[in-house]
Amino acid sequence: MSERSGALSRSEELDLYARLIEGDPTAPSDLAVTYLDRLTEWLIRHNPGVDPHDCATAAEDAILALIKNPRSYKSERQTLEVYLRISALGDLRNRLRSEQRYRERRVPLDVVELSPDARKYLWDVVGDPALIVEKLEDVDLATIRANLQVALTEEENRVLELMTQGERRTEAYAAVLGITHRPVSEQRRVVKRVKDRIKKRLERAGGWSE
């Protein structure tokens, strides 16, 4: 079979997808040959702080998932390539979250600095029209963390999670920070200090908007 170096046209893409749905035994191979390298390279390019091996595995996962369940793709919503990118980003995010959970080193957020690569990554993701999401923090929170070149403390991670979920109640933050036994006024001060610190870092990276 001939190798394909570029993206497929929309009609070629739909034809390949139709072959997957119809059970053409050669369609899974064509899908992988067409998209695996492109998808992996795209992930590596947009996640410069992430191990390329993790990017490759996430790309494989996305392609295998589509082969096993081709109806998960809705052709009227987006192109096949965009669907695969979103799916692979989701896989990568889950992988990074899992690794983050088990990371041994815990460095407080205020003693580290952002890298130029992190800024580039954040800019690239926002600027990529292929992503059909609007808020950066919704795209790939775990990757943002990875690119901040920090291992957040467990508490800081949970605060960041709450922030991205739009949580506004002080008691929710106080609970994850383990300060619910302190006076409410003090809880507010501590919560605000931690949130401001995280926001400041993300603002400097261009990745936070209220």
């Binding site: 079979m1 035994p25 050669t26 191979s29 695996l36 490759a56 790309a59 082969i67």
Partner: protein, 123 residues
């Protein structure tokens, strides 16, 4: 073919959805390497990885023949050889399942015997 396609083909050798599982079982049982396998199929070695990422042919007639011919035509390989490889791998897998079933049956029988003996010794 890219190294990533090779890696993906290796990743799915134990997944019965893919032809990779068939090719792997056959190559292992017959003691053939990639060059031998490619020679038998009439294709370059570089074709083996994308070939392995095809869906395994459905076993029921007439789908088996249709799938084998479709794959053979797509990759320019010998359909009769591919069919033979799939059948041989299926037969080996059936034999293995049978052997495991026998082993399971014998183990269950032995357990039952030991249990009876244990009960007899207690009484």
């Amino acid at each position: 073919m890219s190294d990533r396609i090779d890696a993906l083909a290796r990743r799915v050798v134990n997944d019965p959805h893919f032809l990779a599982s068939v090719l792997w079982v056959y190559a292992r049982s017959e003691g053939v390497d990639d060059e031998d396998l490619a020679g038998m199929l009439g294709c370059p070695v570089s074709t083996l990885a994308p070939l392995a990422l095809c869906r395994r042919p459905r076993p029921e007639p007439p789908f088996f023949q249709q799938d084998v011919e479709r794959i053979a035509q797509h990759f320019g390989i010998r359909p009769e050889t591919l069919a033979e490889i799939v059948r041989r791998a299926d037969a080996l897998a059936a034999l293995q399942r049978g052997a495991e079933g026998d082993r399971g049956f014998l183990m269950a029988a032995r357990d039952a015997t030991e249990e009876v003996n244990h009960e007899e010794n207690r009484t």
